[in-house]
């Protein structure tokens, strides 16, 4: 899980152009530029990073970074 967060932090920093540190409880409210448009840019970047594709339901349904990391972890097990 730690490794996932490390890589997520890298992706977040790339997308938002600033040094952000995310944890399980980080939400879109915590990062100023994280709106519904940037959300999808972020998702695409994460998909590229981990080499997976989320379903539309997952994309719209994530409530915080924790849920996002869970999905990534679950996908890798399969």
């Amino acid at each position: 899980m730690n490794e996932i967060y490390e890589r997520l932090n890298q992706v977040f920093a790339d997308v938002f152009d600033e040094d952000v540190t995310v944890n399980a409880s980080t939400t879109a409210d915590d990062i100023e530029d994280w709106d519904s448009l940037t959300h999808i840019t972020l998702i695409s970047a994460i998909e590229e990073e981990f080499g997976m594709k989320f379903s539309m339901k997952e994309v719209v349904g994530m409530n915080n970074v924790g849920e996002l990391a869970e999905i990534v972890a679950a996908r890798r097990k399969r």
């Binding site: 448009l37 840019t41 695409s44 539309m56 994309v59 719209v60």
Partner: protein
């Protein structure tokens, strides 16, 4: 049939409420709503009623097909089929004439233009129905097995001909079970009365002011153009948000909760915020069903990858958003009407959103707060008004737009323009205040005070009595105004 008409208010609605509440069973109530919804639509569009029924049937079948698909490929094929059929219907009935006219204009041909009258509400119900099929595909909901239930969702009269755009997932559970009591009726009637007041008192009056300013016999001036479009902006807001209020209120009376559609858009600081507050269900629709798919399409993903590989990191990050926003806003414009001024209007807003996101927001951050706020607010007013100038002028667009900059006018101002503005000065001030959340804010304060001083139970009774008085007063006022008014169409009926 128009909500703000005596027939609707004094015959259709009371009769429906009575029949709805005499029967207790859910089936009876759904049946009554369905029959009245079909009658409501047939009142204005007897022939196109069959088109709507056909659309519902098609989407019902495709919903089942998507749900029954065993493999991802089968499901994809079914959803694609459904989307294509919906768009084809919309294309034929809304855009065929426009397409032929455009082809003729570009190629200098004279292919006969098909004379198809736009079916009432087709843009709204097609989007709603299509969304249902896509949501089944995305597993946001199970396919609806009962045709009458799906038919009720698509034809349900409060949300049928204009916004808010209600998704199937919004009311899926409510089609089965609804909470209804005197409280729901009271709240619903209150919301309906507020909406009717917005429409009959404000929108219709602002419409008249706008028309008088635009149709000045003394010739257009710069001032009459800007003042006219200001009244038009107010008219559109009261007209459309009033309609949404009425729709939400009507839904409430029958135990349905519709999504909100407006959140005081004119107090926005910039275009980005404005589109989060204006026609919210349409913005949300384009985000979930067009922006996201375009962003996630194979083409865009490939483009991003190759840009990244060749070292263009910033472009790789931003270009997909710019492409998707352009597609979305071109479509939003076209959705509003089969005419190039709507397309231009959409692209105009798309361009502003892109500018704000990638350039202006960063620039404003470097300025002192106060200065940046002033610049943003002032420019927002002019951007919005000029947007409406594009939106309003289906004919002679560029001649009309010139008037805003003194091209082709008889001067900056004249006696007629000024007297028109003086005459409507009070209306302007009251309307502008009514656009803000001030009234809601004061009401909230009073309610909180009463809760403390009277206790919750008594405060609740006071609230009910107050709402009932407002309902009666607004119904009376609107009835009187409607009796003497000949101007009462809803703007969004033509979309």
């Amino acid at each position: 049939m128009v909500f703000s008409s005596p027939f609707f208010v004094y015959i259709f609605l009371p009769l429906l409420l009575l029949l709805y509440y005499v029967g207790k069973s859910s089936t009876w109530r759904r049946g009554i709503l369905l029959v009245f919804s079909l009658f409501f639509y047939a009142w204005g569009e007897p022939v196109y009623l069959f088109l709507m029924l056909f659309s519902a049937l098609i989407n019902y079948i495709f919903g089942l097909l998507v749900g029954a698909g065993k493999t991802p490929a089968a499901r994809k094929a079914a959803v694609a089929g459904g989307v294509i059929l919906n768009l084809a219907m919309l294309g034929v009935f809304k855009y065929a004439g426009f397409a032929v006219e455009s082809i003729n204009a570009v190629l200098g041909l004279s292919i006969p233009v098909p004379a198809i009258v736009l079916p009432l509400g087709i843009s709204f119900y097609t989007f709603q129905a299509m969304t249902y099929v896509i949501d089944v595909y995305r597993e946001n909901c199970a396919p609806q097995k009962s045709f009458p239930r799906l038919l009720l969702f698509i034809t349900f009269f409060p949300q049928l001909v204009a916004g808010p755009i209600v998704r199937y997932t919004d009311i899926e559970d409510q089609l089965e079970y609804r909470r209804v009591s005197a409280k729901e009726i009271n709240d619903g009637l209150y919301r309906f009365a507020i909406g009717m007041g917005k429409k009959v008192v404000f929108a219709n009056t602002c419409a008249l002011a706008a028309e008088n300013l635009f149709a000045s016999t003394a010739g257009p001036t710069v001032l009459s153009s800007w003042a006219g479009v200001l009244f038009y902006a107010l008219q559109v807001y009261f007209d459309f948000s009033g309609y949404s209020d009425m729709a939400i209120g009507l839904g409430h009376m029958f135990g349905f909760t519709f999504p909100e559609n407006f959140d005081h858009p004119y107090i926005s600081k910039n275009v980005t915020e404005y589109w989060r507050r204006w026609h919210m269900t349409l913005g949300g629709w384009f985000r979930d069903y067009l922006f996201y798919p375009v962003m996630r399409s194979k083409l865009v993903t490939k483009l991003t990858r190759s840009l990244k590989k060749s070292g263009h990191k910033t472009a790789a990050k931003n270009l997909p958003t710019i492409i998707a926003l352009t597609v979305v806003w071109f479509s939003t414009g076209l959705w509003h009407g089969a005419s190039w001024n709507y397309v231009l209007w959409g692209v105009y807003y798309g361009a502003w959103l892109i500018l704000e996101k990638f350039i202006l927001d960063k620039a404003y951050k470097r300025l002192p707060d106060m200065l940046s706020t002033i610049i943003q607010r002032v420019s927002f007013v002019f951007i919005t008004l000029f947007g409406y100038a594009i939106f309003y002028n289906e004919k002679n667009l560029f001649t009309k737009l010139g008037h805003y900059f003194g091209i082709g006018t008889t001067g900056f101002t004249n006696v007629y323009s000024e007297s028109m503005i003086y005459e409507n000065g009070l209306l302007l001030i009251v309307s502008l205040i009514a656009c803000t959340p001030i009234a809601a804010f004061i009401m909230g304060k009073i309610r909180a005070k009463l809760n403390v001083s009277l206790g919750e139970e008594k405060a609740y009774t006071v609230d009910r009595v107050f709402k009932t008085v407002v309902i009666i007063a607004l119904f009376a006022l609107c009835t009187v105004r409607l009796a003497g008014d000949s101007y009462n169409p809803f703007i969004y009926f033509k979309f």
